[in-house]
């Protein structure tokens, strides 16, 4: 039997080790900061600490994402017993000065300090990202020192599986992978399903371009995902788990595999977890670049080593999933919420968010904003708060035009809806969706038909080809959008496009096709005039193709009546 980790011992000695340093300097080493030059910055910090001979007093810690990616590389200086300071756009030179001036003589380098009281930070509420940017993701000791694996130990010792499901049920946790299905319901279905073994899958495919929430969670706090999975497996009776990660995330794969190895060695995975009679095997599986594999039935086909094409439900995975066995798929962020809920209780979790949408949501904030990066906000926050308080508004005195949430399956929200709350129901009512958390803000230089064409091109290429409505429909819709965007579309094309939107939505096999029309429908809802402006005016047909340049045209009442598609 593997040796059992003593959580209290590990936490205690880790905290003691930390307290030996007078200053801890955290250097963001996430993908975004690395591409901005965080590697040389960390080297400079290390070298300066050595040169100044403060090695034994200063600990340089490589951490995950600190959030404000647009200001990277970020460095945070945390002196013992004093206020921390964050530095933005750090170069190796500034890094050297941080050690020489801030750490050694306690003099701040004012011009590079990033105010952590600004709304970007203060409006956030971190649960899932609580450790991101705070701990070294490659050290389990760091995770344990922050209370990691305590929830698991508590659950194994004091709670029956049903009681764990009850806590998740009371907390109101819903799936963060897009649809918002109540997590406890799914867990309960797997628990009740007949058959053994049962499988659990963490969905880390994150196909929505412009989004990197799940990657950050997996890279910056891999043990949180693993702990969430162990608790989920204990509650549902699953004995095997897979984490399906897209191949484009090699760092996430590496860190998860390493974390799994360490956890196994410490008796947190494998047989008799933490001395209980509960066993779980975990494995990472890698995708190979196919958006549709985020869909749960396609994902399972991919894990089985086959083409990632979806299949009809029912039967649902909880009845018949991987290799015909009961299987449950949860999104990575959903699972990462679990340890905190079990540790702090359902009530604590329910204090954040709205009546229907509890807790927080992580968003990758991108596009035309002053501050872009990764944020975790309470559900129910308004779009305006996200865009203007946290995002800092549109740069260069630009004008907010729309925000797209939910990626290629979602929709856009125009300026008139800035005050709507961001939660599952509100977004769906407005023709968009929460999605997995991509939020792209566009200023008024963007033409919305172009945006719709961009997403349709994505869906056309990612359609797996199994069902005809999606395979051919996305090609036709894209061709129509192309004509319209290039200024050679006619009114008939627009009508044709709208009718195709309805057909593809209603007849496609899986969510990819069913939601592919969403960006078109929502941009038509809110920005119909932009489409109409691009159409070739209908002139009486004289046998020759018109070469009339596109010009604004008064909306025709016959066309402006809503498509009736929702």
């Amino acid at each position: 039997m593997a040796k059992q980790i003593d959580l209290h011992d590990v936490a205690h000695s880790e905290l003691e080790m930390r307290s030996r340093y007078t200053t801890r300097v955290k250097a963001c080493s996430s993908t975004a900061c690395l591409s901005a030059g965080a590697g040389p910055v960390r080297q400079a910090l290390d070298q300066a600490a050595e040169r100044e001979d403060v090695n034994s007093d200063v600990q340089v810690v490589p951490t995950g994402c600190m959030g404000m990616c647009s200001s990277g590389p970020l460095v945070r200086v945390e002196p013992r017993g004093a206020e921390p300071t964050m530095y933005a756009q750090v170069t190796p030179d500034i890094a050297t000065r941080i050690i020489r001036e801030h750490v050694v003589v306690r003099k701040l380098i004012d011009e590079h300090v990033l105010d952590e009281d600004q709304p970007f930070f203060s409006r956030q509420r971190k649960i899932v990202l609580g450790n991101a940017g705070r701990i070294d993701p490659e050290r389990i000791e760091d995770y344990v020192a922050e209370g990691g694996y305590q929830a698991l130990a508590g659950a194994l010792n004091d709670l029956a599986p049903e009681e764990v499901i009850e806590i998740i049920d009371d907390s109101g946790l819903r799936g963060r992978g897009g649809a918002g299905y109540p997590t406890a319901k799914k867990w309960d279905m797997l628990r009740r399903a007949e058959g053994s073994p049962k499988y659990l899958i963490a969905n880390g495919d994150e196909g929505d371009q412009g989004a990197y929430m799940d990657r950050t969670i997996m890279e910056d706090d891999p043990h949180r995902v693993i702990e969430g999975m162990i608790i989920a497996a204990y509650a549902t009776g699953a004995s095997h788990g897979y984490i399906y990660v897209r191949a484009e995330y090699p760092t996430a794969v590496e860190r998860l595999e390493r974390a799994i190895r360490v956890a196994r060695r410490q008796g947190l995975l494998g047989r008799n977890i933490l001395g209980s009679d509960f066993d779980l095997q975990l494995e990472v599986r890698i995708g190979a670049g196919a958006f549709v594999c985020g869909e749960e039935t396609a994902l399972m086909a991919s894990i089985e080593g086959r083409r990632g094409t979806p299949s009809l439900r029912p039967p649902y995975p909880t009845e018949k999933g991987l290799w015909g066995q009961p299987t449950m798929i949860n999104n990575v962020e959903t699972l990462a919420n679990v340890p905190a809920i079990v540790a702090n209780g359902a009530e604590w979790f329910g204090e954040v968010g709205t009546a229907q949408s509890k807790g927080t949501k992580v968003f990758a904030l991108a596009g035309s904003l002053v501050n872009t990066g990764l944020i975790e906000v309470p559900m129910g926050i308004t779009l305006r708060e996200i865009v203007f308080d946290i995002g800092g508004g549109i740069p260069n005195d630009g004008v907010f035009k729309a925000a797209q949430s939910g990626g290629p399956s979602g929709g856009c929200l125009p300026a008139s809806l800035l005050d709507s709350p961001v939660d599952y129901e509100s977004l769906r009512k407005l023709g968009s969706m929460m999605g997995s958390g991509g939020l792209v803000v566009m200023d008024d230089s963007m033409r919305m038909p172009d945006v719709a064409r961009f997403y349709m091109e994505f869906c056309r290429e990612e359609s797996c080809g199994k069902c005809a409505p999606c395979r051919t429909g996305t090609v036709q819709m894209h061709a129509l959008l192309d004509r319209i965007c290039e200024g050679v579309g006619r009114r008939r094309d627009l009508q044709h496009l709208e009718s195709l939107c309805r057909t593809v939505r209603q007849t496609s096999l899986c969510g990819l096709g069913q939601s592919a029309p969403n960006p078109v429908v929502s941009t038509l809802d809110h920005f119909r005039h932009e489409y109409l402006d691009l159409l070739v005016p209908d002139v009486s047909y004289n046998g020759t193709a018109p070469s009339v340049p596109p010009r604004p045209q008064a909306p025709d009442p016959a066309v402006t009546t809503k498509g009736g598609s929702r």
Partner: protein, 179 residues
């Protein structure tokens, strides 16, 4: 990085009847996967890392080893975007076409790269020097638009800066680092 490591191990050589040490490493991966058919995608990844691309020979070899019909191996390999069946150029420029980069003008960068090097995205120039491609999202949305040149992420690009940078890379002496 992983490629460099595998190449290094290949250079040390474990001996293989084919005389190509890369097959020794591929066999090792197959053994580690216990020849399980559901490991096909993992094995294809390793094969592509080792050989740069998936040739027909390799696909047939893997079909034999995993006791799968070649149609199945070919079907799976062609389904996923990351598998490539032609040799890549010595240098690569991958333009991120994620939403954030698109909003900030990535399309223009792709068009100009294609025009300047007379190549279509996803293909390699005739002289085998440069592969131009697009990526879904490299996850550095805060730095949009992003272009990955020979594996290095360059941020806040314009068409001009990308062309200049790619020109510099191409002008450099051939190195063995790029695959």
């Amino acid at each position: 990085m992983a490629e460099a490591r595998t190449a290094e191990r290949a250079a040390q050589g474990e001996g293989h009847p084919s005389g190509d040490e890369r097959f020794a490493l591929l066999d090792k991966t197959l053994r580690k996967a216990r020849y399980q058919q559901d490991q096909l995608i993992e094995v294809l990844h390793v094969a592509q890392d080792l050989f740069g691309h998936l040739s027909e020979d390799i696909l047939i070899y893997l079909a034999r080893q995993l006791k799968l019909p070649p149609s199945r191996v070919y079907g799976v390999a062609t389904f996923y975007h990351l598998f490539s069946f032609t040799a890549p150029g010595r240098h690569s420029a991958t333009v991120c076409m994620g939403t954030a980069c698109f909003v900030k003008g990535a399309e223009e960068i792709v068009q100009q790269l294609e025009a300047a090097h007379d190549v279509r995205s996803g293909q390699t120039t005739e002289d085998g020097e440069l592969t131009v491609s697009t990526a879904r999202c490299v996850g550095s949305c805060g730095l949009a638009p992003v272009v990955v040149v020979d594996g290095v992420v360059t941020s806040h690009q314009t068409a001009e800066s990308t062309l200049a940078h790619v020109g510099e890379v191409l002008a450099k002496e051939p190195t063995e680092a790029s695959t």
